[in-house]
Amino acid sequence: MNRVLGDKRAILVLLGPALLVYSLVMLAPMLWSLGYTMFSGSVITGFSWAGTKNFSTLLHDPAARAALVFTLKYAVVVTVGQVAVGYLLSLLYVFFLRRASGLIRTLVFFPVVLPTVAVALLFQKFFEFAPQTGPVNSLLEALGMHGVDWFGSAGTAFVVIAVMDIWRSMGFYAVLLYAGLVDIPEEVLESARIDGASGTRLVRSIVLPLSLPVLVSSIIFSINGTLKVFDSIYALTGGGPGSGSTPLTLLMYRTSFFYGDYGYGATIAFGLTLLSLVVTLFIFRANRRDVTEA
């Protein structure tokens, strides 16, 4: 084996095709997109050199700032929601349901496999205010409260988006974290119990530290997914009302393909890439420090 991997030709033959495909389908478009940030215009109007104009626009664009704030708010709320609910579910699977968790796990996982657009339509109807009153508002009215125009203002639309995306993906994180929890040796838990730890104490001192690596992976998965959210919001609110629930991705899409400004769209994409990179590095760093301290 050593001889094979020591041979440069072998490495080239083994890695070459994959590297070539990767370069063509990933690196080339990425560099291409980076190049666009220096231009303005579209394939229809033609491109003209813009230098750093797109970047200065990005810094002063109120729409971009609003989209950034929305993206961060969404990422934090939904990541915390997804991972926390997922973790609670996984604890439920391991410590309460145990062997019987199969059916529940399947049911909770089910929304993950549903198409996003179908889920969005479901939630649109669920939270509908007009022309028909949806089940949620009917319930509120039955309880003597006023119905809420959920999609009528940015604040309440955000609540629906967050609830939908947490519901949609909690099953995935529950299964991911479940895999981490079942890896905790039974003897460790047993000895902790003998030492008198139980309930929250057991979770805090034994389960949480031992499942930390998979928890961190979940957070990284989740935060990168949520920073790049597009389909669920596009299908549920279309970024509305007005532009009240527009994340950076949707702004980028609109800028490039609706407004025909590929350069500025690519600049927004670049900003989003930097954001994802910084957040990921930050989480990795924080995590590494924790591990060495422990």
């Binding site: 370069s23 394939v43 109007t45 007009a130 125009d149 509305g240 007005g242 393909f257």
Partner: protein
């Protein structure tokens, strides 16, 4: 072993070659998209890109393909695909970028985009095409004039619609509540107040996403009535800004209607079809709409209040305003553009266009009650509502365009997406205008 170096070099050359090929393929895709001419081959189908919101054009073309244009259809069968109106502009940009526009397609929502496509060479100049085919006489001069007004002097679309716009009302609701047809803005607002107090939704208008154009039409017309018919051209020409006080006052007038709840509960949840349905099932008294909706008004399945129960009024005058009620919002609505590349080289497509121009006006009026910018053959009996539209068009001497007609795609999207918020009273006139003005970029 002598071949080792050679093989090394071969692999390197191969990799470099593949990369170069791939990159050059990419670059040719984006730089030479305005491919000229063609090989003179006839396309297998006549592809038409329609929109979900407009069924009349597809239905009329289908009828033509079975009757008047049977021969043309045999040579090049009609193939229709549909797109949501909200994403049409994006689709057109993508298709144009790839040089893959269908022969016929609905012109972009933003007229500025159709002009860009024409400048780039993707959209056929209609006047020259019709001259070439010898069918110029089949398009009404009034339609050509509206089109040129819209596209900065260029004739870029086939007038598959010639619309007037205004406020349609439910006669029964008005008489039940003792309301005379309003002629001034203050009378109209008083009528709204009376209806609201009586528990009737005064206006049905869509405000969901891009369907908010129904609301911004009110803003545009108010501006025209208050500041005169050229007020929006002044904005285009940089002589005025939407953030100037008189323009903001117009937006505030509409925002006030929203604050009073005259647009019904949650206009941001209502799409075009729902808004039309609300009016046609007698749940609202007024709707601002173009005459393209006459086909819905005359449809027994959609209209539950009866066609003779629907009245039409001009957008009312504003007290002390420079505009008059006879200045009619008119446009060619959903119009069809022709792909320049295909038209130039494809004789079957040319024959189709010629047949459409000659027969579309008659079939659309006969079957759908749609008034178009084409001449109409004799002996077509029309519904009273279509007759009303024809008469109004004939009477029109000054036409005005809609609020976003001169806007960029970006400002159009912002304006129409914010329309719903204006109607729900969540956005002030000043904020609305400053957002749209910011996207106009001047």
């Amino acid at each position: 072993m002598i071949s080792m170096h050679k093989r090394h070099r071969l692999v390197a050359v191969g990799v470099a070659g593949a990369l170069t090929l791939a990159l050059s393929a990419c670059s040719s895709g984006s730089t030479s998209s305005s491919a000229s001419g063609g090989s003179g081959k006839t396309a297998a189908n006549l592809n038409f890109l329609g929109i979900n919101e407009n069924k009349t054009i597809a239905a009329t073309l289908t009828t033509l393909s079975k009757n008047e244009c049977k021969a043309e259809n045999a040579a090049q069968p009609l193939k229709i695909s549909n797109q949501a109106q909200g994403t049409l502009d994006q689709q057109l940009q993508l298709l144009a970028g790839q040089g893959a526009l269908p022969q016929l397609f609905i012109a972009a929502n933003a007229p500025s985009l159709t002009q860009q496509l024409a400048t780039q060479g993707s959209v056929q100049d209609v006047s020259s095409a019709l001259d070439k085919l010898g069918v110029s006489g089949d398009v009404l001069p009034a339609a050509t004039s509206v089109i040129k007004n819209l596209y900065n002097g260029k004739d870029l679309v086939l007038p598959t619609e010639l619309n007037i716009e205004g406020i349609w009302y439910n006669k029964k609701i008005l008489s039940d509540n003792g309301i005379q047809v309003p002629t001034t803005w203050s009378e109209l607002v008083a009528a709204f107040a009376k209806l609201k107090a009586a528990g009737v939704q005064p206006i049905s208008q869509a405000g969901k996403g891009g369907d908010g154009w129904g609301v911004t039409r009110w803003v545009g017309d108010y501006i025209a009535r208050d500041l005169g018919p050229t007020a929006l051209q002044d904005v285009r020409d940089g002589k005025a800004k939407l953030t100037d006080a008189p323009y903001v006052a117009a937006a505030n007038a509409i925002a006030d209607l929203g604050k009073q709840g005259y647009f019904g509960p949650s206009p941001t949840s209502i799409d075009y079809t729902t808004a039309l349905n609300t009016f046609l099932t007698g749940k609202a008294a007024f709707i601002y709409m173009g005459s393209w909706a006459v086909s819905d008004f005359t449809s027994a399945t959609e209209n539950k209040i009866g066609a003779d129960n629907i009245g039409f009024m001009h957008f009312p005058t504003v007290d002390g305003g420079k505009g008059t009620a006879d200045q009619m919002p008119a446009n060619v609505g959903t119009a069809v553009a022709i792909s320049a590349k295909d038209f130039a080289s494809d004789t079957a497509t040319q024959a189709w266009v010629s047949c459409i121009v000659k027969n579309y006006g008659t079939v659309a009026l006969r079957d759908s009650g749609q008034v178009t910018g084409f001449t109409v053959g004799s002996g077509v009996t029309v519904s009273p509502l279509s007759k009303l539209v024809q008469d109004e068009i004939a009477k029109t001497t000054t036409s005005i365009l809609w609020f976003e007609a001169y806007f960029s795609a970006k400002a159009t999207t912002t304006s129409q997406n914010d329309g719903g918020l204006l109607a729900s009273g969540q956005l002030s006139g000043a904020d609305f205008m400053s957002q749209v003005q910011a996207d106009l970029g001047s």
